[in-house]
Amino acid sequence: MLKIKCPYCGYRNESEFSCGGEAHIARPAVSNKITDSAFCEYLFMRENPKGVFLERWCHTSGCRRWFNIARDTVSHEIYEIYLMGNTPKTVKGKKAYQANWRRTSKAEAASKTPKRTKK
């Protein structure tokens, strides 16, 4: 049983939480302009590493708030727990974040609101 430290409630048993899968997937803002294959990467394709994995968790039977975990999928060791909207701070977490193919994907590029240009 994992002991997970909810950033809001402290240490609780794994059975109080639910896992929401891969973290840091940004929805394309201009989805009508990207191709089906780029949208498919956002919607269906998933990072599924054997090693450090960044994932979202929810304290379902507690405060019901979401947060992120950097966890090893082989040893189940939790390296880091950080809030939604943040990126990982540990070396392993940072590396996993940068190494993800999503950082350079068309879907993620399309998730950023384009800067306004002067007319």
């Binding site: 994992l2 919607l43 998933r46 599924n48 054997k50 994932e55 999928t73 082989v74 040893s75 189940h76």
Partner: protein
């Protein structure tokens, strides 16, 4: 539903001496069974092959066997990083059925079931396929109505499936309690009589022996560490036992599919999760049917050794550790005791977890990729064992002909772009 072409092949075991039969048992009894031939040889990799199959589980071994037997590709190798059948093939609850609702699923699982029906003869190896029937029970009016809709769809595809009343269920499974005033009353159920179980290890061993007989090199303890490409074409693989040149690579590695896909720089929609099962201490025969319940969330059968085999849903987070998390077995046993209170007196003997490859639509991927000569057969998730012969048969066809046949076509990786998903989350018998 597409008519399936059931070419089982007829090349294996032409040499009568190596065949297993009642006469060979009698002959070997004379020397106390000391001189049985080795079932398959342990090969070392050659430098080049016509095709390489990665993954020595049931699906991979079946693929290699059908490639050699039907398509005559005997200069092929099967690479396994551990031992044969040591992954999910040896870690499931051995249930076989084809009662799926969508046409695409009905086609592939029924194709597999037809192959199961003659498999022991085809392989000359007793896989102990027992068509004991799979009974799915329902505990509410709504579930019963949905079940009846499903049963009619299944029957339209020509697959046997019958609705049963509580009285008929009691007749089939005398130990079940059909009182209406219990926590989970049995309101009805549906039975596929041709469904059943098989001996999982025997499936791997039978395919390995038959493939070896046809000249397939079965290489164990050999891990693939890289895939070699020349632009968009596969040219070979790198393994812990050296490099192998080959124009065709078939990946059948279940939970590790994403790891291989990473080597080829392609993306898969797969999540690797542990699926756990438990067996109890052996008891006298009490259950000769497989029983599944979606509402109570478990499935149970009794093995030939007398152990009660229990299974439930997948773990809730990704993992490559073949153990699983503890709340799951607790839930599994609680559900089983809800349904069969006498189980609370049994001691549990073993628990295990296999890493299953789950697709967003709970249907497999049998597909070519953007890289020429690289094929993937994965995403079977929680229900791969039942499809073993069909999966291998169809995947061999895809590799040999380099185009999907009518059964494989809907299972292309492209379906996640086109949106033609085959949503079978409801078909698992229990929610995963």
């Amino acid at each position: 539903m597409a008519k399936s072409d059931l070419d089982r092949g007829s090349r294996a075991f032409t040499r009568k001496l190596k065949r297993y039969s009642i006469f060979s048992i009698a002959r070997h009894a004379g020397n106390y069974h000391q001189e049985w031939q080795q079932a398959w040889s342990h090969a070392e990799p050659k430098t080049a092959y016509d095709a390489v199959i990665i993954g020595g589980g049931g699906h991979g071994l079946a693929t290699a066997y059908y490639l050699a037997n039907i398509y005559g590709m005997t200069n092929i190798a099967l690479i396994e990083k551990g031992w044969l059948g040591g992954g999910n093939t040896g870690r499931n609850t051995t249930i076989i059925r084809s009662n799926y609702m969508w046409d695409e699923s009905a086609a592939i699982y029924e194709h597999a079931l037809k192959l199961w029906e003659g498999l022991s003869q085809d392989l000359n190896f007793n896989v102990m396929f027992s068509q004991r029937g799979v009974l799915t029970i329902s505990h509410s009016e709504h579930e019963l109505r949905e079940m009846s809709r499903r049963v009619h769809a299944i029957r339209l595809n020509g697959i046997d499936s019958d609705m049963l009343s509580p009285a008929a269920i009691k007749k089939l499974v005398p130990m079940i309690n059909i009182e209406p005033n219990i926590r989970y009353p049995v309101l009805g159920g549906f039975l596929q009589k041709r469904a059943g179980t098989a001996r999982h290890d025997a499936v791997a061993w039978g395919y390995a022996r038959a493939a070896d007989e046809l000249g397939v090199d079965i290489i164990q303890n050999c891990e693939v560490v890289g895939l070699r490409r020349n632009k968009d074409k596969i040219i070979g693989i790198e393994t812990t036992k050296g490099n192998i040149k080959t124009p065709k690579v078939g990946c059948v590695v279940a939970g590790h599919s994403s790891v291989l896909a990473d080597m080829a720089n392609i993306k898969l929609p797969i999540a690797s999760r542990p699926l756990q099962a438990i067996v109890s201490e052996p008891i006298k025969p009490i259950l000769d049917t497989v029983i599944m319940s979606n509402a109570v969330h478990m499935y149970i059968s009794q093995s030939d050794k007398g152990e009660m085999v229990l299974g439930a849903g997948v773990d809730k987070y990704n993992s490559y550790a073949q153990t699983g998390s503890w709340p799951i077995p607790e839930h599994m046993v609680a559900a089983a005791v809800d349904l069969f209170p006498f189980l609370s007196q049994l001691r549990m003997l073993r628990q295990w977890g296999g890493i299953v490859d789950i697709c967003p639509d709970a249907s497999p991927i049998i597909s070519k990729t953007d890289i020429r000569g690289l094929y993937f057969n994965c995403g079977w998730g929680t229900g791969g064992f039942k499809a073993t012969p069909g999966s291998g048969h169809i995947f061999a066809d895809l590799i040999a002909n380099d185009r999907p046949n009518s059964i494989a076509l809907p299972y292309s990786l492209k379906r996640f772009e086109t949106g033609f998903l085959i949503d079978e989350h409801g078909a698992a018998g229990v929610a995963h």
